[in-house]
Subunit: 401 residues, 2 copies
């Protein structure tokens, strides 16, 4: 009997650097160890109660399919949100509801690039871009950014050096996961100028739009939509904005009508996003702006605690994050993944430990980020302070081991 | 400025034949016309109340990510369900929770076939297989079945004629969407024998497992799992079983450990399925077997009404469906899609009309199924009788127009 062989491409889908150590964390928890999760951007901040009220008052039965384009009530709510942001060029026909921001990323990559085509990303970048690039056979071309200037963009010339005949798009994330960098108006102007000259799509992942600190203004690709209507695609999600990670809801937004028709056909293949999640999230129109403001303030406080705490540890480097709730942190270790495993399998302080994401998975260039971790500062200040203390003790013991 | 071009492959993703006429239906509804939906398998049968109670008592806040593999409580519930079905070779490590059965189909195609590889399907087949084949660059090779023998399988020799060096899998759906055919033990034995000899995967979409009529027994690929542990993959969903279409939950089940590790990596890329849907559906362990039995009886009654009603219309051909809740129906028209549009845009009877799915989208061979529609008998008996009456009147008028 001939043996069956899985597809080669399955082997190329990487394990998530954020989640690959989950089995070690589960084993620690089974032993009764408390694990502080700094590995994943899963906030402890409360989902607005007005959304949970939709669940408590649920009376639809059966739980039927939603429309492939998106549940009309939810589409209208998203549209209202963008209108309130000042993006008046958007209407529901420019919005495709997606099952998480992840699906928006996948749809965008598939829609702009054929097999073997290239998409430029700035390294380090959100690790799951690698997953969808592998699934859809797209080559991510990493343009290096570095820790010294807080991971801001290189010059126009340096970026253009990476453009080939196969380049189809530039994919950015601002505020950035994993670096916390917020691109300035000058940087956004430069990117728009580049895609204009070279006829590229500009894909902007703006999941953390509201979370910027020290008075930094977020410059959205939305404000360039009318300038480059066929080229601009915004990828968005409700997960972080309203602490709705477990409700799988995102959006792909574009004025390009052909693109919107294409992604609708993809959406029809998977029938619909979740009805309950969409009905719940439709209540975003009843969430006061003070909610987002208070969440922004809370993350800024946490950013400060993390930054001051880690900066004070000998051998640790951390640029001050300008937005989102992540930081790339350089450690005085040779192999940050080994250290992350050590935290979960060996190190205990009063029966507690910390889980972090090795940063190498956020780089495409082999060998880069080996001594770095990504930290998500999504825990409350006390838990964050305690996590920093644990990291400090673990680094001291690990180094001497 | 050079213009941007979308990927060629986006153009190859087909519009859903089930949903492509939605805009016409919406327009009719806006005019105040009542539309009976026979186009989509979205049941009107109630979701078990014990599931909705989970929503009404919801107290988790925030709505956090679930695990990529699946929420443990839900995985255990699914495992219990399979144990109760008698499939004792399965444990949670053999189950990947998916965002709808759709994602299970996509994961399976990607995992077993490289770009340009072939998967054998029996025509007509579930239209969305075309979507995922287009997205993942897989060639579906249709083996014809025909209406005269109720769409049962051709001989072993006829099937084997379609196997090439590029063939990686045979994909079946039993009970079948769109034909209602339930494959016999002899047919399943034959398929297992074929994949053994040729070293192929056997992918079995068993979403309608419980819905068989006239005492027909469903023969699941589950009962062959230990015989072909590396080759058997079951694709499943809760949508139809518990009327949970709008809760996007399915499963991919296999004893092939490498496959399960691969699909987990794909799952990590999209983070998790919906938490609320999974918590709600976990209560399937509290749904009495009488629920499924009564749903099965109700569909059998509807099947009878549909079959007797349509058989009585002159020029209409309908094989008696053995399971699921679909039928492929031959109409005395040249172009069933044009007739389906006519129903939505022009024909009204007492301000009511019917929406059906043109069957050509369920065929891969061009020109096939042109005079056929797929009907989903998911409406209650009175609505079904009225729909048949409308179809009869519309056919008479359309033919004379």
């Amino acid at each position: 009997m001939p043996s069956v062989v899985l597809s080669d491409r399955l082997a190329h889908v990487p394990a998530s650097p954020i989640r690959k150590l989950v089995s070690f964390a589960n084993a620690a928890k089974k032993e009764g160890v408390h694990v502080y999760h700094l590995n994943i951007g899963d906030p402890d901040i409360k989902t607005p109660d007005v959304m949970l009220e939709v669940l408590r008052r649920w009376d639809k039965n059966p739980i039927s399919y939603s429309q492939s384009h998106g549940e009309p009530e939810f589409l209208n709510a998203i549209d209202s949100y963008y209108q309130a942001c000042g993006y008046s060029c958007i209407s529901p026909k420019n919005i495709q509801v997606t099952t998480g921001g992840s699906e928006a990323i996948a749809m965008a990559m598939f829609s702009v690039a054929n097999l073997g085509d290239e998409i430029i990303v700035f390294e380090p970048f959100y690790a799951n871009y690698n997953s969808y690039a592998a699934i859809h056979g797209v080559t991510l071309v990493p343009v290096p950014t570095n820790i010294e200037n807080g991971f801001h963009l290189p010059t126009k010339e340096e970026i253009e050096q990476h453009i080939t005949t196969k380049t189809k798009a530039i994919l950015i994330c601002t505020p950035n996961n994993p670096t916390g960098t917020v691109y300035t108006k000058n940087e956004m102007d430069m990117l728009v100028a580049i895609v204009k000259v070279h006829g590229l799509f500009l894909l902007s992942d703006e999941v953390y739009r509201e979370f910027t600190y020290d008075g930094t203004t977020h410059v959205s690709l939305m404000s360039y939509m009318q300038d480059i209507p066929n080229q601009a695609v915004v990828l968005d999600s409700l997960s972080k904005r309203y602490s709705l990670c477990g409700a799988r809801l995102g959006m792909l937004v574009s004025l390009n009508a052909d693109l919107m028709q294409g992604v609708l056909r993809i959406a029809q293949g998977r029938l619909s996003s979740g009805l309950i999640d969409q009905m719940m999230a439709s209540k975003l129109i009843n969430v006061p702006t003070s909610y987002i403001e208070s969440v922004q303030k809370e993350y800024e406080k946490r950013r400060n605690v993390l930054y001051e705490g880690l900066k004070a540890i000998s051998g640790v480097t951390i640029p001050k994050p300008e937005g989102a709730f992540y930081a790339i942190v350089g450690l005085p270790v040779a192999d940050a993944e080994d250290f992350a495993k050590y935290l979960l399998t060996t190190f205990r302080d009063a029966n507690e430990t910390v889980m972090v994401a090795p940063a190498s998975g956020f780089y495409a260039t082999p060998g880069k980020g080996k001594n770095e971790i990504r930290i998500a500062y999504v825990l409350h200040v006390d838990a964050l302070k305690r996590s920093i203390e644990i990291l400090k003790k673990a680094l001291a013991l690990y180094g001497s081991g």
